[in-house]
């Protein structure tokens, strides 16, 4: 009989522990995706947006979205809402591959068949001519949050990582923690503006050796015409598929992000031609799509040549982000660029 008691205690404690864990993660619903969790005002808790943004992509609170990497994370939805009379979510994920962006985009489209507006932030990933692109980074990517079935999500919540996020979520819900991330996906990940130090920023932009003159190969541009024909951009087929899923009335913006000038290839170099070809091919895709605009900030301009606009070579300031939002609106309404600020790319 003593062993019977041992066994019953073992089973009871095990079931009790697992049952309590189960109840806790279901109530907390750390990623806010469970269809049967209590309806509470949850926050995006995970610092890995691949976990926290699927809930935003599926949320009916939004009718528009921004997709991209950290180079578009500073586009503030509230600002865009005012400019375009829309309800934006910023779904840009740090270092997201085009595959990851497409997965999140597909989830958004499944829940928003006719969005008002979609902005695609385009950077190096979209203009890579590598034969194959990596689908994922070293950051964990949870495919179960993207499978369109939120009923099975609970099966993936019984682990220490999800438990930690559930604890954070409860902390937010109880008012014990301050949310780091906005409920529209926006986060100003930069230090406060009053801490901006131009010299420090320059050291980030140029590295310890400081600015060096860009070596320009003065080969004539047309000499690359043969190479251009042979370049294949693997991510472009993804963009074609993504654009094809949007109805005509949706406003689509393909935005080449403003890298600092130091990251831009010297004009008329082979690398410049590779980028130029990429831009025009994506613009051609946009031209085949109703209501689509290709806006290019990725060239030496009043924005990209000023060090004080940047924290490092990729990340511009909040002030520039606000300016970019306004310039997008101007680009769409004028259908042409502004000299020294942005180009409106027409297909060749």
């Amino acid at each position: 009989m003593v062993w019977r008691r041992f066994w019953l205690v073992f089973v009871a404690v095990l079931l009790g522990a697992l049952g309590s864990l189960c109840a806790f993660v279901i109530i907390a619903d750390p990623y806010d995706t469970l269809p049967f969790s209590p309806a509470l005002e949850r926050e995006p808790v995970s610092t890995n947006q691949r976990f926290s943004f699927p809930a935003l992509a599926a949320s009916p609170r939004f009718d528009s979205a921004i997709f991209g990497t950290s180079t578009t994370r500073l586009l503030r939805p509230e600002k865009l809402n005012g400019l375009f009379a829309a309800r934006f979510a910023n779904l840009s994920m740090n270092s997201a591959t085009s595959h990851e962006q497409q997965r999140l985009y597909n989830l958004f489209i499944e829940h928003h068949r006719a969005p008002r507006m979609v902005i695609f932030g385009l950077d190096g990933e979209w203009c890579s001519t590598a034969p194959t692109l990596e689908d994922f980074t070293f950051r964990p990517f949870p495919p179960w949050l993207y499978d369109g079935n939120s009923w099975n999500d609970v099966l993936y919540l019984f682990n220490f990582s999800a438990l930690e996020q559930a604890g954070r979520q409860v902390g937010f819900l109880a008012g014990l923690r301050t949310p780091k991330y906005g409920r529209d996906g926006y986060t100003n990940f930069l230090p406060p503006e009053d801490q901006y130090d131009l010299e420090k920023a320059r050291s980030h932009i140029y590295g310890p050796s400081g600015p060096t003159p860009t070596s320009v190969i003065t080969a004539p541009q047309q000499s690359f015409s043969e190479q251009r024909k042979g370049w294949i951009y693997p991510a472009h087929s993804r963009m074609r598929d993504m654009l094809a899923r949007l109805p005509g009335e949706t406003v689509k913006v393909l935005m080449f992000v403003p890298y600092h000038n130091v990251r831009l290839p010297g004009k008329e170099t082979l690398e410049w031609a590779r980028w130029d070809e990429c831009k025009h091919r994506l613009a051609a895709l946009a031209a085949d799509t109703p209501n689509a605009h290709t806006i290019d900030f990725m060239f030496p301009s009043e924005i990209t040549t000023r060090d004080e606009n940047y924290w490092d070579a990729l990340h511009y300031s909040v002030r520039v982000a606000e300016q970019i939002a306004e310039l997008i609106r101007i680009g769409i309404s004028d259908r042409r660029g502004r000299i020294g600020l942005f180009n409106y790319i027409e297909p060749q």
Partner: protein
């Protein structure tokens, strides 16, 4: 399905336990229930391999029975040849063709052959049954008894290698007897201990060993400290990984009222290589002794023959582990070490306990490099690094000695001091509710740990 997976712990195991005890009153029902459960367990990995397992069981059972009826026919030889042919194709075809191609100086495109999980275990288990049948020391079993003996899920993939005459008779006994709750409890504690050893110790040691062996696998040398850290980390990892698996297997069987043989007995406390093999993977040692060592001469045909038998047995033991020259070398080194050990003992050689232990462990942990290295040349480079001839190029993969010291200390303490998991589960666990609660909480912690999607397979699954 892995023992260290949530689907096994929360779905498969409860269904098996509840179903088994529901039908336990009927002998045929409980045997067939476990057979079906075991095939589900096996097919969960790759359904295509189920016919191979089923066919292998049916063929061996048929040939053994046919031998009883027509003993004059070479049916046992046919059966053993068929088993060796199957394992030869699935496990050794690429190794053999690569070796021939290398010998001829030719290039050989590797064949794409899936290695069926557990093939070494269930094939050799069945060969032992055929040999015992030929020797006239096996009973005639009903098909379902034999099938369950081979496919019994706790031991199917990586042992312990069980003999027919130590398992099948247990099927007669209704598990709902007076030891029911004691078996369930002790089995559950062994399962928890095994899970903790695998998930919380072995998998953490792998994080130290894997990057360093990866560096060496690229043909780079390591710094002497990194080379030793890699070797020690792997030596501890494989012990906790495999003995953890064995604990789980024995514990799971015990929860079903069946007793499997012990497979490990604190091997790193051994004071000689000979003693090491009496403590490490005991059921394989037993198999090699009874079916290989004795067959190639054993110990009663003179000293030279004895030495040769030891070396041949261990060479084959090495090859059993993996299809690669590094495994052959590993086995050969152990065979030579056993022979030297034997001669030393016969000559009356003696060492103090500490020097004996240090010499034994130095040999064991050095030879683990051949076992783990990604190729023979990588193993040689690694060994040279261990004697200080390498230039450390581990870079970011290099490890901080202090960082791994605590992990090594905990692992070494468990391996060298205190009771073994078998002793804990069978002798030290008393029917105290607090211990039951502690075990259950440890199980819940492991359950969460393996839910992260990073639960690693067991090293011995590749064999």
């Amino acid at each position: 399905m892995l023992f260290n997976s949530q689907v096994f712990l929360i779905v498969f195991l409860p269904i098996i336990l509840v179903g088994y005890y529901l039908v336990s009153a009927n002998r045929a029902y409980r045997i067939w229930f476990l057979i079906i459960g075991s095939f589900v367990f096996y097919g969960y990995w790759d359904i295509r391999l189920v016919p191979l397992l089923a066919g292998s069981i049916a063929l061996n059972w048929t040939l053994a029975n046919a031998h009883r009826r027509w003993p004059q026919l070479p049916l046992i030889l046919l059966g053993i040849s068929a088993n060796l042919l199957v394992i030869g194709i699935f496990k050794y075809a690429n190794f053999a063709s690569d070796s021939i191609a290398w010998f001829l100086g030719a290039e050989q495109q590797r064949w794409s052959i899936v290695l069926p999980l557990g093939i070494s275990f269930f094939t050799f288990q069945q060969i032992s049954y055929l040999v015992d049948t030929a020797r006239g020391v096996s009973r005639r079993y009903r098909f379902e008894e034999y099938a369950l003996y081979v496919c019994f899920f706790p031991q199917l993939i990586a042992g312990p290698i069980v003999r027919h005459n130590e398992l099948i008779f247990q099927f007669d006994r209704n598990p709902k007897h007076r030891d029911l709750y004691e078996n369930l409890s002790r089995g559950a504690i062994l399962l928890v201990i095994g899970l903790v050893k695998k998930v919380l110790v072995a998998d953490q040691l792998a994080l130290v060993a894997d990057p360093l062996f990866a560096v060496a696998g690229l043909g780079n040398s390591l710094g002497v400290v990194d080379a030793w850290i890699a070797s020690i980390a792997f030596g501890l990892q494989i012990y906790f990984d495999f003995s953890g698996y064995s604990d789980m297997a024995i514990g799971l069987a015990l929860m079903l009222g069946l007793h499997l043989p012990v497979n490990f007995n604190a091997p790193y406390r051994a004071l000689s290589v000979r003693e090491f093999w009496r403590r490490w993977h005991l059921t394989l040692s037993r198999f090699l002794r009874d079916y290989v060592f004795i067959s190639v001469g054993g110990s009663r045909a003179g000293s030279t023959r004895h030495m040769m038998a030891l070396i041949i047995t261990m060479l084959l033991g090495g090859l059993w582990h993996g299809a690669g020259w590094n495994f052959v070398v590993w086995g050969g080194m152990h065979g030579i070490a056993l022979a030297v050990n034997h001669l030393w003992t016969r000559a009356g050689g003696k060492l103090g306990r500490l020097p004996a232990w240090l010499a034994t462990m130095s040999f064991i942990f050095t030879t683990w490099v051949f076992f783990r290295a990604e190729s023979f040349s990588a193993a040689v480079t690694h060994i040279w690094s261990m004697v200080g001839s390498g230039i450390g190029v581990a870079g970011d993969n290099g490890v901080n000695v202090v960082d791994v010291a605590w992990l090594f200390s905990v692992a070494a303490l468990i391996a060298l001091v205190g009771p073994t998991s078998q002793e804990i589960a069978r002798e030290h666990v008393v029917s105290k509710p607090a211990l039951a609660a502690l075990g259950a909480l440890a199980m819940a912690a492991v359950f969460l740990q393996v839910g992260g999607g990073t639960n690693a397979e067991f090293i011995y699954f590749q064999f």
